[in-house]
Subunit: 213 residues, 2 copies
Amino acid sequence: MSTTPIRLLLADDHPIVRAGLRAVLDAEPDFSVAGEAATAERAVELAASGGFDVVLMDLQFGVGMHGSAATAAITARPGAPRVLVLTTYDTDADILAAVEAGAAGYLLKDAPPQELAAAVRTAAAGQSALAPAVAHRLMDRMRTPAQALTRRELEVLQLVGDGLSNQQISKRLFLSQATVKSHLVHVYAKLGVESRTAAVAAAVARRLIRQQG
Amino acid sequence: MSTTPIRLLLADDHPIVRAGLRAVLDAEPDFSVAGEAATAERAVELAASGGFDVVLMDLQFGVGMHGSAATAAITARPGAPRVLVLTTYDTDADILAAVEAGAAGYLLKDAPPQELAAAVRTAAAGQSALAPAVAHRLMDRMRTPAQALTRRELEVLQLVGDGLSNQQISKRLFLSQATVKSHLVHVYAKLGVESRTAAVAAAVARRLIRQQG
DNA sequence: CCGCACATCAAACTTTCGGTTGACCGGGCG
DNA sequence: CGCCCGGTCAACCGAAAGTTTGATGTGCGG
């Protein structure tokens, strides 16, 4: 083992979660929590200033930059620390965004502490660390490609989420109702649901569309 | 100050959050974390066995009983500990359910530690502890009772937002479809919409219900 | 005690949505 | 070039959602 501890940066908007991570990780002799950030912007700033080996990054911050954007900003720099995403949701959109942003791992917050510590060591060693459940979801996606919604399908789905009827959507987009239905049928198939409200719920959960707020 | 510490029970499905709460609260000289529960069921069990003054209760557990149900179960017993709800969302549906279940307070997880400690002391003293943002929402509701949704209506609407059909909702809540429709008709009238998706969109915009994410 | 709000249910009705089938067109690619 | 995919549309039918009317029970406050 190395003689210098692994220096960690904790990025989460919840003080309670930061305290929990600090308590759990500082208990490990080879770890050293060297900084905390309550916003994604602050995490990018601190990571750029150097002095960290691994960043533990939340995805959903109350306000401001999203964790995946921060991850991309951090990993884009040469000699950047490894970023380990630690979040509550294991949705496809979140996982893919994190992986594409260059995350070295993806863990769920309900993971037991020893699993978390192991993942940090794996990431520090330059390897990938995916939670079993997350790895499983990625495998699923690979097995069934063509899950991605087309631009037009997302456009229709967004309007459904805004509360419009097929009639209203068809007028808004200068389409026939038949076309709107056609798009929605494809959306239902891709999302694995069978109603418009379920499609919206699934799409919001996967961050495919935005919900006002 | 009293000579005996306030004994706490932490109920949250995330080990990290429990560790964080423990770290933050054990630092207070007059607090003593006397137990942890990873499920709502376990929290009810432990609370019933006695030995706690205040329960810190999360609302969303990954599986099993909901936090508001657990709160109701705990506060229903004579000599029960005070329950302080500590969650991520400040929607009407969650807040009303918690308050009606007998919660002594409602805090958000992004609250600073000292606010949390203060709320625990307030709850232990037998008073109500509401986060400022939450208190404000409750005030708003009182001021405009006309279009306020009843608890039952919110409950139905939340399930609609989760993508369930009337049939599924009726089974989930042990109602007839007629009753579900009846509630929705009232919801539509109060929100000024005329479809379920529009109702969900309006409710999310007004933060009446929670949309995952 | 009476009224009112809330929650519950029933039945019949209209409208919208969901699912299917089939079709046309334009563009990208082997 | 021929093929497939994305986007467009039509007609149809059954299922679900939404509308209307009306009714019952319960609890709370004037």
